[in-house]
């Protein structure tokens, strides 16, 4: 396949970025999107240029490191697919592909397509945990959890924290991420004692990190590589409202 890439290049966090055009010739259709970038980078290096920087790790769709916005859609056109699991057969020969970093003020660009997503780590530090030891594996069987609740918690727990939800949101809102993390723990008996505190603190951390406000467009769930539904956001809104009301009234 022969493609034209329009790639965001930015030398440092503070420098001004721009779109640069690269030809991507003779790309095998079975290559993944990141492998395609590897091929292009090998050629750039051979010509003495600086390769296109991008984040990646497992390349199996489970680590949440890849963070490309492809043709304006985080992780590209395939639903429930990370950029590393996106294959070039989904594009057509001769296509022009726009590749940009995940854009949000809270995710500053470090270089080219690499963004700093440590804001998510700080939100987790604010409440995305259970404070006390809940026991080893055998103890888990002594705590009955209804199937529906276990399913809901597990579905939320599949969030890999990639940040595509923020990148897709026109408000740079982190509500899908935060709601998935809150739902994961608030749905389980082990997480319930800290339910109110968790909702309040994680939302406060989210606001302080400079993420925006959800306006219910649901672009986040559409691009989420783990198909986390926006119902989580409704649940977080409810948990937060009840916790804030309780906090103010007691």
């Amino acid at each position: 396949m022969n493609l034209t890439l329009k790639v965001w290049r930015q030398e440092t966090r503070d420098s001004k970025g721009r779109i640069e055009v690269f030809p991507a010739k003779d790309i095998p259709s079975e290559a993944s999107f990141l492998e395609m970038l590897d091929i292009v980078n090998e050629r750039i290096i051979a010509e003495g240029g600086a390769p296109i920087h991008f984040d990646h790790d497992c390349r199996e769709g489970i680590c949440g490191m890849c963070s490309l916005t492809i043709n304006g859609i985080p992780h590209g056109p395939e639903s429930a697919t990370t950029a590393c699991q996106l294959h070039m057969r989904h594009f057509r020969d001769g296509d022009t592909i726009w590749i940009e970093p995940f854009r949000a003020r809270a995710f500053p660009v470090l270089r080219d397509l690499v963004v700093d997503r440590t804001a998510f780590d700080r939100i987790i530090e604010a409440g995305g945990f259970i404070s006390v030891r809940t026991g080893a594996a055998p103890d888990a069987n002594t705590t009955p959890v209804p199937k529906e609740e276990a399913d809901r918690a597990f579905d939320s727990a599949t969030c890999i924290g990639c940040g595509a939800c923020v990148a897709a949101c026109k408000n740079s809102s982190a509500m899908l991420f935060v709601s998935a993390k809150v739902s994961h723990l608030n749905n389980l008996p082990q997480g319930r004692p800290e339910k109110n505190r968790r909702a309040l603190r994680m939302v406060q951390a989210m606001d302080e990190e400079g993420f925006g406000n959800c306006s219910n467009l649901y672009e986040c769930e559409a691009v989420c590589p783990k198909s986390i539904p926006a119902d989580n956001i409704a649940r977080l809104n409810r948990d937060y409202a009840l916790a804030a009301a309780r906090n103010a009234l007691t």
Partner: protein
């Protein structure tokens, strides 16, 4: 009282809290719209029906009820508009634009909420100056006083105000544009209320969306029937 103020204060300062206040004031405005529409449709019951209704509104609880309602709706409107403008400005400031933007499933209505909202706001200001404050017209004059069966004094001829008001094509056009954008605003806003208040789930999500759209469509048809009947079918015109 202190606890309530404390709660509103904590909501006012947080992202989700602000959205909850927008949703609650949105509910107040949704309820107002249905009431306002029901009242307006009395136009089709004839001159005396709507004039009687207008008089009743103004005299309810010795004239206190209308002021309580006005202050309530105005407060809801101010909070709703203030917070949504504040949120929109902040959201825009923290989101750098893509060189090649893309959208997957967000509806057009949902993406233009602030613009439909601001147009509706402009319309509301005009509408209040037109029919409530009656600026730039002679609705306060003697020609708009009429008799009503069962009442000795002359009453305001709201019926004639509506007929004359919508006989102006420019008036009717602005009204039609505003009501169309209101329909768009409601089709996203109605369902959004449920999401923001945490009442939407996987089970009821689709139903809430459909009810929201149906409500928006009903409001649109209902309000448009008035200028439509007057301007295009000559209802009430000599």
């Amino acid at each position: 009282m202190n606890a309530l103020a404390c709660m509103i204060g904590s909501f006012w300062d947080s992202s989700i809290g602000k959205k909850i206040l927008v949703a609650l004031t949105g509910i107040a405005l949704l309820l107002f719209l249905s009431g306002h529409l029901a009242g307006n449709l009395l136009l089709f019951m004839g001159k005396d029906a709507i004039n009687e209704y207008a008089l009743w509104l103004h005299e309810l609880a010795h004239g206190a009820a209308i002021w309580v309602a006005r202050i309530g709706v105005l407060t809801a409107l101010i909070v709703h508009v203030h917070l949504t403008i504040q949120l929109s400005i902040r959201n825009k400031a923290i989101r750098p634009n893509y060189s090649h933007p893309g959208t997957v499933q967000a509806s057009r209505s949902s993406r233009m909420m602030i613009w439909s909202g601001l147009t509706i706001l402009a319309f509301v200001l005009y509408h209040i100056s037109h029919f409530t404050l009656r600026i730039g017209n002679d609705y306060n004059g003697g020609t708009y006083q009429t008799s009503l069966p069962g009442h000795e004094d002359k009453v305001l001829n709201v019926y004639q105000m509506m007929i004359d008001g919508f006989s102006h094509p420019a008036n009717a056009l602005f009204y039609i544009i505003a009501m169309t954008l209101l329909c768009s605003h409601l089709s996203h806003g109605f369902a959004s209320v449920f999401q923001t208040l945490g009442l939407r789930s996987a089970k009821n999500g689709a139903l809430i969306k459909q009810i929201g759209r149906a409500y928006a469509l009903l409001i649109w048809i209902g309000f448009l029937s008035i200028p439509g009947a007057i301007l295009f079918f000559g209802y009430g015109r000599p």
